[in-house]
């Protein structure tokens, strides 16, 4: 069976850097970008290895600011 693949899109400037998405990602691909400060003054959540995303939407379930869109293909 083909492995479920997904893609997450973060609206980085709306992220408050709380890290709840980081804590629930089963593939551990989300991190807070300590080299960036977004428009709100926080280190936003980013995904570097997007090809490992399975599109489970756990991150979106926990995001208090609803900045995440999840696609699956």
């Amino acid at each position: 069976m083909a492995k479920a693949r997904g893609r997450v899109i973060f609206e980085e400037d709306l992220c408050k850097g709380c890290g709840l998405c980081v804590s629930v990602c089963p593939t551990k691909i989300i991190s807070l970008d300590n080299s960036t400060i977004n428009a709100k003054g926080y280190h936003p959540a980013i995904v570097i290895e997007m090809d490992k995303c399975i599109g489970c939407a756990n991150c979106a379930m926990m995001c208090p600011d609803v900045v995440i869109t999840v696609e699956r293909y």
């Binding site: 408050k16 890290g19 709840l20 629930v24 709100k40 208090p64 600011d65 999840v70």
Partner: protein, 248 residues
Amino acid sequence: MTVVFEKTKGLTDVQTHYCPGCTHGIVHRLVGEALEELGVLDKAIGVAPVGCAVLAYNYFNCDMHEAAHGRAPAVATGIKRVRPENFVFTYQGDGDLASIGTAEIVHVAHRGEKISTIFINNAIYGMTGGQMAPTTLIGQKATTAPLGRDEAHSGKPIKMSELLATIDGAKFVERVTVTTPGHVRKAKKAIKECFKLQIEGKGFGIVEVLSTCPTNWGLTPEESLRWLEENMIPYYPLGSFKRPKEDD
């Protein structure tokens, strides 16, 4: 490619003022999704409380009303009686519902008003800076209980869901939390069922959501979720306390 998750139409594009990691945002989203999925967004009227969620009228994409502290159920009663065709809900915190507004919520349940209430219990007064609430746990520190809540002085934390479940007019009472994606999904299911009850005209429903307050608890957002699971859930057990009976 399919979009499996995107922001609900039940919320506006206004950025919330909540602290990072505050679970108010998650519950707002669940309420917005429930309103949208049940098709009542166009006729929903929400009543915002006093407390951290005082600005909720900016965030829900439906008509909203602001109430005096604790009086959201009374205001909602008026709205629902004048406009019974509308869907009316209140969104209240523990300082609002379990302290100054205890009389209103008890009597709205007692009268069996056909409204729905979302009750956010984070065991502390958030907006005013972390004072002890009626729901603060024994031993939990607050700015007005620097050594922790003392049972001999302040009594035990009030269990609103258990209390309201004893009232005949309350037809749906459930306590949920939002500490994991699984719990978030269960919370959404409870909120939708509670809202359906009103749509079917069956009476008063309330969903209590155990929530976090990272800022006033002095913990990180993730630590707060674990603290909630370890300390609040043992005292405030999750689950359904009341469902409508068949003859309701």
